[in-house]
Symmetry: C2
Subunit: 343 residues, 2 copies
Amino acid sequence: MNLKELSAILGLSQTTVSRALNGYPEVSEATRKRVAEAAERHNYSPNTRAKGLATGRAMAIGHVIPTSNRHEMVNPVFGDFISGAGETYAQNGYEMVLSLVEDGQEERTYRELKAKGTVDGLIVHGPKSSDPRIHQLHKVGLPFVVHGRVSAERKPYSWLDVNNRSAFQRATDLLLDLGHRRIALVNGLEHMDFAARRRGGYVDALTARKLPADPDLMRSGEMTELLGFDSASQMLASPNPPTAFLASSMIVAIGVRRAIHDAGLTMGRDVSVITHDDDLSYLRNGDEVPIFTATRSSVRAAGRVVAQMLLDQIATPFETPKTQLLEAQLVLGQSTGPAPTSH
Amino acid sequence: MNLKELSAILGLSQTTVSRALNGYPEVSEATRKRVAEAAERHNYSPNTRAKGLATGRAMAIGHVIPTSNRHEMVNPVFGDFISGAGETYAQNGYEMVLSLVEDGQEERTYRELKAKGTVDGLIVHGPKSSDPRIHQLHKVGLPFVVHGRVSAERKPYSWLDVNNRSAFQRATDLLLDLGHRRIALVNGLEHMDFAARRRGGYVDALTARKLPADPDLMRSGEMTELLGFDSASQMLASPNPPTAFLASSMIVAIGVRRAIHDAGLTMGRDVSVITHDDDLSYLRNGDEVPIFTATRSSVRAAGRVVAQMLLDQIATPFETPKTQLLEAQLVLGQSTGPAPTSH
DNA sequence: GAATCACCCCAAAGCGCTTTGGATGGCGCA
DNA sequence: TGCGCCATCCAAAGCGCTTTGGGGTGATTC
C-alpha cells in the first residue's frame, strides 16, 4: 500500500492525504479523520526512504562503535546504554543504526554516513582523553553528542558525563575516613577519559591528606573480571598489601572479590571494596542492601538523556552545544568497613 | 556531492557514472577507472535513500528487541551477538538497525518495518518455546532468521541454535561421573526455549541413571548474579544440600560461587559448578585454564553466522529455510571435582 | 449582485538514484 | 562501398513521498 493507492481509494489527491497524515492545517478535521482511519485499516505507513528523500531527513541516529581487533569493545555497558537511548528514539519516531568500525576508520565512516544520508546525527562512545573524533565530526558536519568527555578538546561540543573525578574522590575519602591508608585502584585503560578522571579523583583525595599515591597500588587495563582478579591477587600477596580496593566496574569488583576470597580473606572485614556501578540491568548490585559499596550512576538513564540531547540539537541546529554533568551516588553496601587494626 | 554534480564534472551522463560505479559491463575500463577516481577524490557516496528508493532494497537488517517494562532484556549476550552480526553486515555493505519494542507490540513493528521499507529482513532474538513471532513474520512477509529455536513451531523457518539439550546433558553426565548425586540446576526463565531445552538435557541425564529430578534442586528466573546467589544460598542451607550446580550463564555462576564462599565452602572441592559460557568478550572464563568448567559456545560467532544466513536468504528468496545446530564445547576448568565423600 | 475571504483540495515538480530503451560511431568484412 | 555489429554512452521514466503554487466553492460582506 502506498500513498498513490491510498489516495485513489479515498478519492483524494496525494497532497491532501499526505497533509492529513502529517497534521497540516489545510485539511478539514472530517477528511483528516477519514484519511487516518483508511490508513489504519489498510495499514499504510509511508515509505521511509521516499519520505527521507523528499524531506532530506533520515529520521535515524547512528551509534558508531569502534572495534579494535582486540576484542575489547562492545563493552557490557553498551547494551544498557542503547536500551536507554532506544526508548528516546522510539518515542520520537527515530530509528537507531549501529555501525561497527575498525579503530582508526572512524573519519571515513562519518564521511560516508553524512554523504549517504544514513543518519541525522550520532552518538560518540568511549571518548579518549585526547580524541580526534570530535574534530572529525565538526569537519564532516554531523550533529553529535559525546557520552563522556574529551579533556584535551578546546572547541565546544555537546556531552553528557558522570562526574567521575568527584565520584572517585568521594569514594577514596570514604575509605580514608574508615581508616584505610593502603588503598588500591584497579582502573580502566587510562587513555580513556573516564579512567583518567577517576584516577585524578583518587590521587586528589590521597594528596589532600598528604598521602603518596603508590604506583604499586594502581593498575589499569580492560575492565574484565580477570583484571580485577589478577591485580588484586598480586597486590594482596605483596609484603605491604592494600586494605581496600577501588574498582572501575562491577565486573572488575567481582574479580577483586574472588581474589580476596582466594587469599582466605573476607570482603568488608579484612579488605574493603568500592566499585563504580553502572546500574546494569543484568548485573544488579544486590537487592535492598548493595553487595558492593559503590559510586552509582545509571548508564541506561544516561542513554535516554544523551539521545534527547542529540534530538534537541538536531531540531535546533544553531544553538550552542549543551553539556550535562551527572553526579554519581555513593551508596553504602556490605563491602566496606573500618580498616583492620594492624596485627 | 551527488550523482548529477559528479557526472557534470566528468562530462558523462548520470547513467554512465552510475554504471561505472556499480560494475556494469557497458562501460569501458578506462572510463570506469576515471569515474572511480573522481568519486574517491570528491568523496562521493551514493545517497542510501535514493538508491533504496530506486532499487527497492533497504540494505539494512533489523534487530527487534523486546523490552518488557521489567528491565530484563538487553541481556548481556546481546552486545557480543550484534558485534558478531555487525561484522558480517559491514562486509556486505548492510546497515544494522535496532528497534526496541514493548512486549506484545512486535507484530505491529514488523508490519511497519515492512511497510516503511526500513529493512530487508530481521533477526529474531530470545525465542520462547511457543512464540507467535514466527507466524507473524511469515504473515507479514519479511525474511528472518531466529537466534535459537521455537519448539512449538510446526512450519519450517530458518534458525541457528546451540544444542542446549546435549550440552546440559553432557554437563550433567560429567557431574554424575564425578560421583555427584545431588545436582542443582539454576536455569533461565523456562518459557524461553533455550532454558526449557537445557532443563530437558539435565533431566534426561538424571533419568538415564534412574535418578529422580528433585524439584527442590531446580530454580529458574532472570539470569542475574542474584538469582545464582539466592538459589545457591537457599539450597546449600537445606538439610540435604546439592554437591554440584549447573548454572545457565557466567553471571549466574558468579552468584553461585559467591553463595558457596559465603557458606564457607570451596568451589571445586566441596561444591562443583558447571556453567554455560557464551564466551563474552568482557566476561572471559579465565585465561588458559577456565575458572568454571563450562559448556562453551561463542555468541559472537553465532551472530556472524546468523547474519550471514539471513543475507543468503535475502539473496535467494525462494530457497527452503536453512537451519544450523552448533555443539557447545565442554571445557574443563577449576570448578569441578569429585563429589565429596559424605561426612 | 459583485467582491472578498476562508476553507479545502489538487497537479506537478523535485529529492537522488537505477534502469529501460535507444542513439552514435567506429570497425571488420564481403 | 555498404552493411552489420559491437562497444560505449545517453535521455528520460520511475521509485514514493513532500511541498509549492495555485484553483474552485460556498459563505460573508458591502
